[in-house]
């Protein structure tokens, strides 16, 4: 795990330069200037955009403001997806900064989950952590932790504290010496070309013969359309984004050769 520390830090501290513009049909009392922000890839939109909200609300009347939501080129942005995932799926082939439109009206009920509070984000995040551990350890490690440890994971993410987060997360990344890995690898594969939001299946890190599986093995088995017949994994075909959500909370990069 210590070999991976540099990679883990690079993943954690990844940022996307973003320009937020208010939707033109929103009613304002003065002109709304765009707002620029570096977004953390591993976090969630509604967790890191308080300043964006305040900036635009300054030029609006209270009665014209309801739940904030974000959109990119007509696509409502799912706040419950990590920011890096949204960018990679929708905007990675466009020039930076990432241009996001901010809305305060007409919340798209059919597309987006509501985000009533920071507690909702925490609940979602912890739910993901728990599901990952259900796959890795039959939930044993996360259930044995105290509430304060769960809280530390969340606070680490919320406050951008790598060391605070990993002090607890490293326990979720361990497995018994006699095993060669987790029970199953927690992963999700996102593609823009499918109706299904993601592919998630049970996948063991070790084959029956004891060989460690690679990322290529996983893709071949669960997403064969991503792998071309010459046995190369083509991750950059148009319309298909190379997003194996690394679930930084759940996979060690050393799992994949």
């Amino acid at each position: 795990m210590t070999d991976d520390k540099d990679v883990l830090r690079d993943v954690w501290f990844g940022r996307i330069p973003t320009c937020f513009t208010l939707y033109q049909d929103e009613i304002t009392e003065r002109e709304a200037e765009p707002y620029y922000l570096l977004l953390p890839r591993v976090s969630y939109l509604t967790l890191v955009t308080d300043k964006v909200k305040k900036h635009f609300q300054k030029v609006m009347r209270q009665e014209d403001i309801s739940e904030i939501w974000f959109e990119y080129e007509g696509t409502p942005l799912k706040w419950h997806y990590p920011i890096g995932l949204l960018f990679d799926l929708l905007a990675s082939s466009s020039a930076l900064p990432w241009n996001i439109t901010v809305h305060f009206k007409s919340f798209p009920e059919k597309d987006l989950l509501h985000c009533p509070s920071k507690d909702a984000i925490e609940a979602h995040f912890m739910s993901c952590m728990k599901e990952a551990d259900a796959l890795k350890h039959k939930s044993q490690v996360i259930n044995e932790m105290q509430k304060k440890d769960h809280k530390q994971l969340w606070m680490g993410l919320q406050n951008d504290r790598f060391d605070q987060f990993w002090a607890i997360n490293r326990k979720l990344m361990e497995y018994p010496a006699e095993e060669n890995g987790f029970r199953y690898i927690p992963f999700r594969i996102y593609q823009t070309t499918t109706e299904r939001p993601f592919i998630q299946k049970l996948f063991r890190p070790v084959a029956a013969d004891g060989q460690l599986h690679t990322l290529g093995d996983l893709l071949k088995e669960v997403c064969p359309s991503a792998v071309d017949p010459e046995d190369r994994v083509s991750l950059c075909r148009s319309g298909w984004s190379a997003v194996v959500r690394s679930w930084l909370t759940a996979t060690s990069t050393s799992e994949f050769k």
Binding site: K110, L113, P186
Partner: protein, 228 residues
Amino acid sequence: MANSGLQKLSFNMEEDEFIGEKTFQHYCAEFIKHSQQIGDSWEWRPSKDCSDGYMCKIHFQIKSGSVMSHPGASTHGQTCPPMEEAFELPSDDCEVIETAAASKVIKYEYHVLYSCSYQVPVLYFRASFLDGRPLTLKDIWEGVHECYKTRLLQGPWDTITQQEHPILGQPFFVLHPCKTNEFMAPVLKNSRKINKNVNYITSWLSIVGPVVGLNLPLSYAKATSQAE
């Protein structure tokens, strides 16, 4: 269904509160067979790539409390809690739905999916008016019988949250699956003790369903024990 058929399925007898995906699909198929016999309108919907799917039921309800099933289905033989009244549908039932004020008819959708992470079924549901406006969780709760509200707040299945449907990608309400094995274990243990065949889906749905306004006619239970 023959016992030898049951043994071929991936049903781990030691961790019997968990079921494999093939077992889940088998129990759903049996459940739907009975649903078709009594006109309860459950159906199986495969995903676009057909690798998996889910069970789905839609029913319509007028806010005053009368129940109307999906057109064509009979409502005979349903056991309903006091808040619902079953009645025979007139032959032109589509007209009946239209003439009722659109804002008062609510469409309820229940989906039963399989969670490979928790190896249990999960109940997803949503409700909307005919014009598409969704109901909030609070609205849905207002239609749930009082005794279930208390149970929901106290029971092991104590979380309903809004989540993205893993196959459709749309917002649904979900009864969280992580405690399912806790309340299913005694049910399955007991059925083993008295040597009775149990359809996991039937038992599970009869426990979690009523809590969110979904009721199962008693004939489902009888169908299971007769299916040898």
